[in-house]
Symmetry: C2
Subunit: 444 residues, 2 copies
Amino acid sequence: MQMAPENEEKTSNWFKGINVAKIVNAAKDAKQLGKEDPRRIIHSLKVGLAITLVSLFYYFNFSYEGFGVSAMWAIMTVVVVFEFSVGATLGKGVNRGIATLLGGALGVGAHRLASLSGGKAGMYHSRIIGFLSAVVTFIRFFPKLKARYDYGLLIIILTFSLISVSGYRDDEVLQMAYIRLSTILIGGSATVFICIFICPVWAGKDLHNLIATNIENLGIFFEGFGCEYFETKTDKDQETNASMDGYKNVFNSKGTEEALVNFAKWEPRHDKFRYRHPWDQYLKIGTLTRECAYRIDALNGFLHSEMQTPMEIRAKIQESCRKMSLECSYALKELALGINNMTFSLHIDHHILSAKAAAKKLKSSLKTGLWPDANLLDIIPAATVASLLIETVSYTVKIVDSVHELASLSQFENCDATLPNETSREEVTRSPGIESHSLSITVE
Amino acid sequence: MQMAPENEEKTSNWFKGINVAKIVNAAKDAKQLGKEDPRRIIHSLKVGLAITLVSLFYYFNFSYEGFGVSAMWAIMTVVVVFEFSVGATLGKGVNRGIATLLGGALGVGAHRLASLSGGKAGMYHSRIIGFLSAVVTFIRFFPKLKARYDYGLLIIILTFSLISVSGYRDDEVLQMAYIRLSTILIGGSATVFICIFICPVWAGKDLHNLIATNIENLGIFFEGFGCEYFETKTDKDQETNASMDGYKNVFNSKGTEEALVNFAKWEPRHDKFRYRHPWDQYLKIGTLTRECAYRIDALNGFLHSEMQTPMEIRAKIQESCRKMSLECSYALKELALGINNMTFSLHIDHHILSAKAAAKKLKSSLKTGLWPDANLLDIIPAATVASLLIETVSYTVKIVDSVHELASLSQFENCDATLPNETSREEVTRSPGIESHSLSITVE
């Protein structure tokens, strides 16, 4: 008899323990999510605001009498269309609007067609609906259409089926199509208005910043690499060590980049971005950044490898390697800063030229035989590091070139604002053939 | 006066040309899509069938009188929930069903709460709806919830808003919640039934095949690499050359793998897969496959590099390199075949051991100085190829180990069915410590 309450107490304590721990963890996670990106909280509030406004609209008697139960389509549109970024919202909104129009027209057409056939309209109707749904479902597999219009095609099937099915019953099919379209327009415009005019989140800007951050991460690695590999660490370097792994984020950003490009294409002019900003160029830069990051990953492997090369062997390549890695670091960091400010600094070319000179010097000294009497297995890691660095120089050149292409396509300013005093703003013209340099390095 | 009809003809010809060409192209694309994966056509027909059946249901008078206009929820559910694979459909269906239940309960609750407050119910209502929508929208940002329950959370907001808003008007809120739930159940069960019992597409099986194909592609590269690099081409090799690039597909399959794992987790027992099949293990294998593919990409670069090593230098490493690459090829191809048949051949270990022996031999011969008088710049590419091959051996071991882990988790058969005559089915026990071998190779 004594056991029962004791057991009960234990169980309830155990339950409490679990629940309290879980709730505390969830709260911590929520706080972390909000801290990482406060726009998430703002977005949630914006969705709440939009739904409140549209549901208030539902309570006004005059609109209820006009639209009846169909006013709920307005709420539905807000819930379904409101996305995090302006581009995603506009894409879904435009898709939904046009698809409702098309699907409605098809539905009315199918209704007329079926009513011509007289008595057995129901059977004909169902078959037409089934056939058209199958066709549109197949169209959704086309990769180009899937990328931009998948949601629209879904809504065409939906509206078409609903209109033609309800039409058979109500015989007020035009009226219904009109009501559905106008309620969707009301919901959609409330959504788009709130999304654009209250703290907008632009997918294009996010993409722009993501590319800049990725390039900066590569630069940060190169900055630390020279000191790390040639073991001239000071206390300060201990800090950079942790941030040197930032380049690893580049590997996982491919999906995000593609999604953001798709959204950004829907966005109107904002900040310094025009309506037809060359968004596809960002994908090209992203791919080059990732290819460079793979070489960096291989270099990083040599930093932590247990198969170390003796110091005297490394010393022979130290000067050129440090030069290359530092100049690449300067170029990439200045490039990232320039992307952020929508400028293109002409200093970058100086850094690139120095890096190339160092690469050339290293190559010719490798030819003449730097290590005459050393063990081959000691040399291989050092030689691999050298050739990886030479490769990364050519990737840096490619990245600079593709950003330069972006800059000229989207009319960045050519400026030296980032380092105003060094060359007293002399007019440096960019050598046109920097693309050909990159080839000569890799082939050489 | 003569110009006008001529021009008109030209324009109409031009229009015709464009239209005919476009239509022909679209038809060709459609044919191609159907040929690539005939299941796409079957899926479209299945969707058409499901919508036809549910819309027929709408025409039966008794059900119309029972559910009224709400019967369209059934059609809506079919259109929105029917996805290509069983897992995706079940995931969406379960999410939609449970979310409708939860959202409905919340809606009824909010309705009761607001009606307690009397006259200004409308205002209170809107605020409650707005607040709860904001909270649920924020919850959608939790990464774990987003992966599996994003659609359900959206439907909670939707149902909750619709129920509580309509409830204020109709005062038949329980009735409406009941109707919405039952129509969704009818649409959902028709969808799930057709999806599972007519030519089902299992995401789990697709994932399983994708992993096997990726591993096979790595094996195909290794098979051709030895002949290509040491230039002992015959006419037959010309054919393999084209298929050697198959490993490049591995780079783009990460997103597909993650999506398929998410879908597969919803699927019931099918073929040889249990309900709780170790799907996450596939992600691990996929990652290792990609890491191996990056090394392969580097090796491929040396095949087409203009910086070629003289033949006499390559000849020194030829034997070990060809051995390693062939043994890896055999092991990977047998592994892929085994995954397809859900078996794990014990021959794989023999191939792995031979590849390791060759790697060890090459390492020790590199130490003793293979090329005493050669130019360093000639040696570096050959030495890099050798060390990349040694690395790929250790990646092959890792892939074999992770597939073996999958095999023991999901109870593959240990068998030698693939090569029945060679060892006369003697009982070979798998050495337990193969994991530790892989370490010793990389550290050595």
